[in-house]
Symmetry: C2
Subunit: 423 residues, 2 copies
């Protein structure tokens, strides 16, 4: 194993296999709807090239592969076994945001195949299915998780009627890619008779925590729930020169007081994040006191109770501030998504695998949604985060460190081997 | 005089002449570029109808009238005199903002003509020139005061090359209206050999102060100076879910802290107003921490020293807040317009005329720019504000109270008579 993963001449802590993972991710980043950047949405034409490259690799690893009716790429490794045995699922998504980096999603699929390569044809008492989900980002149809929902048999047929901005429906997109929407029910693990041992997703952290901790990887114990609201502060637009300070009902000043309160309240609760990411004022003229300010609110925590309590307190603060200033405020709930807790025995197993590499064990909650959030409804699930240099994601500057990929490979191999003794 | 201005059956404190002022203003509001609202920009076609209506009235009052090459409407009253004597100027502007009310500007012209009507042909030792400026709002060419600048001989010929959004230049607009741009230098008071006693402008307050004081009118002692800046807070855009509160550089949170500081500092200084009227965030997505926030700043005070000191302190606060949060802030000066102080002897004369009506004397500074600001460069100038119900202006709901118009007429007549004894 050590010989496979480190070789004289590679970067400190790197390995040829880790370097190959990065090279394949970068090559796939070239498969794009745009010439100038990486944009690869659900079943867009460049997805054919992604499938071809990965299936060629799978074929070389003696894996059976297919693309299901939802566009998910699936490859099964049975080693010297007979196939059809309990199955460890490893995967992530193949699609990207517009102007994306080279690692979000695809890294989890490529790392999975690199692990199969590292197994070198070894016999295991279970199969390993590598899955590249067709859709996670929600870009093309403003609705995420189309691939993983089909994979666990929770793809609502109404989703076929979603229409993208270009007028194409999900159903048409599937047909245009050369697939048959009628086959979607047959995509599910249960229809396919798969008995899953669990689902493991490797993913870049997309945040600054591991860099801050100077740690290459962390186990993920859950994915935070989200509350999203839209708020409107209603004051009185008025002339900026003729209205004394004492006679104003400035909607932006009220929103500003509230934004600081959002920040203060989030800082006061461990693990809570709260963000005002959108703000617009009306009439938005330099010489007019804002009569209205519209703001978004995004609140996340691993505990649903903490999150809901915090969101309520933040809305109450908005009402209190508006009232004290003689304004009105209205709010509407846009999203209330519960947290997902990872399977504790898989998380412990991952933590032991991290410890086995000699590294300090860190366990984070994920602040972003992932396919594992959907998979967890049907299968024991866990994730391993890789450090994101600069905390950067969803941008071309998104990166991974070769040595961190090597650690992830070592942790993944230890995790797989540990399941052997369990089975 | 009392008989002229109040008649049994008119509204409390009103009069037929005051009612006529309001009726004429409302009739003129119908002369618009739009069917559904009042919009009348510099030398737009409906301006012909305004000129026609007012010149018909002037003609009935034995006034000589003309439209000058800058589109200003001018009518001269000599009573039983011979003309060519020292001249009192009374006026305001004929143009409007888009979707305007019926009184901003036009009221000052109509009130001037009503005063001539109230004089009833009386002989005075001076002429009275009523002027309706063609342009004050800066709507059509994004440049205000085109009419009054020509009137005082400060119309820079380069202004003829300004081009509106529809591709028409000032020069073309003047020609299209049937006027000759070459005549602009001859529009000036000095070219015309006018020896002005002073300039008096009646205008709605466009603010809530007189309503708050329960007073119909006030003398205006000056027009505040303005500082306008554009500020940009530069933080770091990041994922709203994956970036802990402690590792954020949220540009909107910094801007919010600064906006509250702007409000606090303005409240602490008598007569100071400071407004953040525009704010935009980048990337402006609900799930992304704002990486940049761009804001406008508008600071006004009658004392230039107070204004400049306040603007500096507000910019310093922005730098302090950004620095404490690990952000950068940049600012650029957009406008630095000095205050204009009204002629103190004319202001005192107006205050005495207010007192003569038996009302409490209030004196305000104007928070908005007016033609008087330009006239003051060449002629002793003063203004009388009329109460704005609800403080509303630049909106269809803009109003005046008939009784307040009647007070303004009485004050104006007293003011004119008082000049008789001076001359």
């Amino acid at each position: 194993l050590t010989a496979t993963l480190t070789t004289p001449g590679s970067s400190p802590g790197g390995s040829p296999l880790a370097r190959r993972v990065i090279e394949v991710c970068r090559e796939i980043a070239g498969f794009s709807e745009s010439r100038s950047c990486t944009t690869r949405t659900f079943l867009s034409p460049p997805m054919h090239a992604v499938h071809k490259l990965l299936r060629t690799w799978m074929s070389g690893l003696q894996m059976n592969s297919h693309v299901d009716s939802a566009g998910n790429l699936i490859g099964v490794y049975s080693g010297a076994g007979t196939g059809g045995r309990p199955c460890l699922l490893i995967g992530s998504h193949l699609d990207t945001v517009p102007d994306a980096g080279a690692y979000d999603g695809i890294l989890g699929v490529v790392l999975g195949l690199a692990l199969i390569e590292a197994l070198d044809g070894d016999s295991l008492p279970f199969d390993i299915e590598i899955v590249g989900f067709s859709e996670e980002e929600g870009v093309r149809f403003s609705t995420p998780f189309l691939g993983s929902l089909a994979y666990i048999g929770q793809f609502d047929p109404k989703l076929l009627n979603l229409v993208a901005r270009d007028g194409v429906s999900v159903e048409t997109a599937i047909r245009q890619f050369g697939l048959d929407p009628a086959g979607i029910p047959a995509c599910s693990l249960s229809s396919r008779g798969i008995g899953a041992l669990g689902y493991l997703e490797f993913h870049i952290e997309q945040g600054p925590v591991l860099e801050h901790l100077n740690a290459p990887v962390a186990a993920v114990n859950g994915i935070v729930g989200q509350s999203r609201y839209q708020l409107s502060f209603h004051g009185q637009a008025n002339h900026a020169g003729t209205t004394p300070m004492s006679q104003r009902a400035d909607a932006l000043a009220a929103a500003a007081e509230w934004i600081l309160e959002v920040e203060r309240m989030a800082r006061a609760e461990d693990g809570l994040v709260a963000t005002v990411g959108r703000l617009s004022v009306t009439p938005d003229a330099g010489n007019v006191i804002p009569g209205q300010a519209d703001a978004s609110l995004d609140v996340r925590h691993l505990s649903d109770a903490v999150r809901v309590r915090a969101a309520c307190a933040i809305l109450a603060a908005a009402a209190r501030i508006a009232n004290a200033r003689g304004l009105r405020v209205g709010s509407s709930l846009v999203l209330d998504q519960p947290a997902v807790v990872c399977d504790s025995s898989l998380v412990k197993r991952l933590e032991r695998s991290i410890a086995a590499t000699g590294l300090a064990v860190h366990t984070l909650s994920s602040g972003a949604g992932h396919d594992a959030m959907i998979l967890a409804r049907a299968v024991p699930s866990a994730m391993l985060f890789l450090r994101s240099p600069g905390g950067v994601s969803h941008l071309p500057a998104e990166a991974v460190i070769e040595a961190d990929v090597n650690v992830a490979l070592a942790v993944g191999l230890h995790f797989i081997r540990s399941l052997e003794t369990m089975s």
